[in-house]
Symmetry: C2
């Protein structure tokens, strides 16, 4: 076995050297490796996330905390010596949460831990008291005839599956995003869902939802997983289950937020930018540590490491801290709008918005020609425990508009096994973040950004 492994290693090395040789000078690869190793010795990533969650905390788009975060970010970019720092205003249709309460009234009265879904309408001031109509999935609910839920609270109890790559989220989250529309069409007066999350703690998971013209805008909320279990157990007694739900929410109207941008300016092609993204806003329940204080720290720290090199890289490294991701990629869309004239200068981007787990894979979304360049970058990431993935990366939520406009992307894929335990809950707090994992992330982003900035060709 030993011999075989050794031979494979030698062949790999030869192959990687060959791949590298074509795209990067040895000195560039050496600088990339040095950036990587410096990050592992200790980057600013963890400190930045700690600072943001400690000094600002919750920062729902359009809230006072959000504006504090904008000020924080601009100040930090300056403190870290970025060459250019600016903000680009993003108008927000602000929403706020008030008190929220749910109780099982019958057959066995018990309080439930509940939270309104983001952007939900409030209940009437006295609340809603109605019998539960239980569906295991949104698909089951959609088989119920129109009118069959008249006067009921629809309850969808599907439980999200835990996976490393977060693939359990997509199927489960439909109940949250479309549930209120489909329940309302069938006559329901409110929607309750089991939290879209993999934990079993009494912390509910909020998150965005939608309404649709032609269906009443009914209030919608998520139960913490143990509370959803309790409701399911009470439904098992084959007696009518009645729940009282009260949600205070408010559409506040126009507020201003901002995309906050910091650059390490390129020495040869300053107008061409490598985008490192994260989003600055958070939901209101937690302190936005893993979503997305971690990403903010990683992106800023990676560019900061590059900024400490003796020479600036050829292209510009642009860190974009997007506004209002959680409420519908508002900042990301505004960024696209603001930069339509210079899209072709957006060479490639990557966003960190999947928590604080270690990166285990480099995927890409580049032209066929550029795949070997990404392979070459991957070879420098290998000592970080990062394997090379495929070429179907999406690039992260805030890069969706830019990706749609043709920008190449990289996916520095994090281990998300624990991410959905915390996602959108009060439990999204700094203690969930490991300093060493943050340094590994910063190392990978620094290597990627530096080499992408040095590479002479295009990725699209």
């Amino acid at each position: 076995m030993v011999n075989r492994i050794r031979i494979t290693a030698i062949i790999s090395s030869l192959f990687l050297l060959a791949a590298d040789a074509g795209y990067f000078a040895p000195q560039e690869l050496g600088t990339a490796a040095a950036l990587r190793d410096r990050a592992l010795e200790g980057s600013e990533a963890y400190n930045l996330a700690a600072s943001l969650t400690t000094e600002v905390g919750p920062r729902l788009a359009g809230s006072p905390g959000d504006w504090q975060a904008v000020r924080w970010a601009a100040m930090k970019f300056k403190e870290l010596g970025f060459d250019r720092v600016w903000t680009e205003p993003v108008p927000i249709d602000a929403w706020a949460r008030g008190e929220e309460m749910a109780t099982i009234v019958a057959p066995f009265p018990q309080k439930l831990v509940v939270t309104a879904l983001g952007l939900s309408e409030p209940t009437p001031e006295d609340g809603i008291e109605a019998e539960i109509a239980h569906f295991e999935t949104l698909a089951d609910l959609m088989e119920a005839p129109l009118g069959s839920l008249d006067g009921r609270i629809a309850f969808i109890s599907n439980r999200m599956e835990r996976t490393r790559d977060g693939s359990g989220y997509g199927p489960a989250v439909q109940a949250r995003s479309r549930g209120a529309i489909e329940a309302a069409k069938r006559g329901a007066v409110a929607l309750l869902i089991r939290s879209i999350g993999t934990d079993n703690h009494r912390v509910p998971h909020t998150g965005g939802m939608r309404y649709e013209d032609g269906a009443p805008r009914i209030p919608a909320a998520a139960l913490a997983n143990p509370d959803a279990d309790l409701l399911v157990r009470q439904l098992g007694y084959d007696q009518p289950v009645v729940v009282r739900l009260k949600l205070e929410t408010e559409r506040i109207g126009l507020a201003v937020s901002a995309n906050v941008i910091g650059e390490i300016t390129g020495s040869e092609k300053p107008e061409e930018v490598i985008i490192l993204g994260a989003h600055l806003d958070s939901w209101d329940l937690g302190t936005g540590a893993i979503d997305d204080g971690a990403g903010v720290g990683i992106a800023m720290a990676a560019a900061h490491l590059i900024g400490q090199l003796e020479e600036r890289p050829k292209r510009t490294i642009r860190v974009v801290l997007f506004a209002a991701e959680e409420v519908g990629l508002v900042g990301a869309r505004k960024y696209l709008e603001d930069h339509l004239g210079e899209l072709r200068n957006h060479i490639i981007g990557a966003e960190s918005d999947f928590g604080a787990g270690r990166i285990w894979r480099l995927s890409s979304g580049v032209s066929e020609n550029a795949v070997p360049v990404m392979d070459a970058i991957a070879s420098v990431l290998e000592p970080l425990g990062i394997e090379r993935g495929g070429n179907e990366a999406g690039g992260g939520p805030d890069l969706t508009p830019l990706r749609g406009a043709g920008m190449a992307v990289a996916g520095l894929d994090q281990d998300g096994t624990l991410y959905f335990d915390l996602h959108h809950t009060p439990d999204d707090t700094m203690d969930k973040i490991d300093r060493k994992a943050m340094d590994q992330n910063a190392a990978a982003y620094a290597v990627f950004a530096y080499l992408a900035a040095q590479y002479d060709g295009r990725f699209d």
Copy 2:
């Protein structure tokens, strides 16, 4: 090594056979083993805990939920065919929690997750706003001079250590039980502690506290662990940290609860009882699943298994579901008072009040003469993965008064590694309980109770 292990095994077997032979008839050992195996095939333990937490839920001593639990228990004993079922009233000085709120006001405003300690006084209606005086331990606080905390909120941040046997609890819990007394003596206007718990979720741990004549009765509360971390981080900025605390609590006055008792009556010595204990009350934040719905289920299920044998055991198996454990062993003390005349008939007891983990050890608190009898019982428990422990068992909190009066006890020691993640929190819910572990517990209690009932001698 193999040979040595084999020889040890043979010697052990011989020793155990020898030990068994002296105290129990082969048929008795066979019945005990059959009870054990039947329990593993499926006992009522899990179902009982599920029923209690689903149909009653929170049951703080003296609250309406507590009285519901008393009714539930009496009904369940009857449904399960116990020979005698009765209640013994326990007067309670009832206390209730209202709204509670804490916020860091400066330097960086953020909400904190907080809960009043059990029996705490309320704050004034407007709350208390004061600067934090931080101590890492109660011992550190006790070194502060009298008057040095004038007008401050004392904050003790010690973190409980995780262990299998729960030994981290004792040192840490002093901050909760005595903290308010010592802080008040030194002039503090309120006490905040880090939750006495091993988790890192945003669920605070309540629990009993004491006041003392001669020290002002200041309000006292616990922060969830992540919130204590946040407060510590803000204290690290070397600026004054100001917290606003509001606790609504109420002393309701006299309420009535009850010890609920069910018996499988002995066939030869019915007046002599083997006590299987658990407590029926819970704190108000969770549904009292692991503390102590699990114990209620285990004790009832074990006796129920014995009740299904063709013949009644020689002695009576008495399941006592104690009232008001959490608020100071009130039911346990009342039980002692009510049974002073028959204490000598309390042959031996064991209480299940350490969650729903598997039992890993049988310890005992018996006379030297009876130690080999416990060894013989342990031999039947061995296939359950239970080892024999020492002879220093305390027997569980509700047995403390009986133990003090001379009753022998057994300790069926559970794995408590995860217990203090959930203890006294909203997170103490049914989903934390594993059915198979409950069956293993019921098996062990059934074996212990049956053999203790069959043994002709005494344990004290």
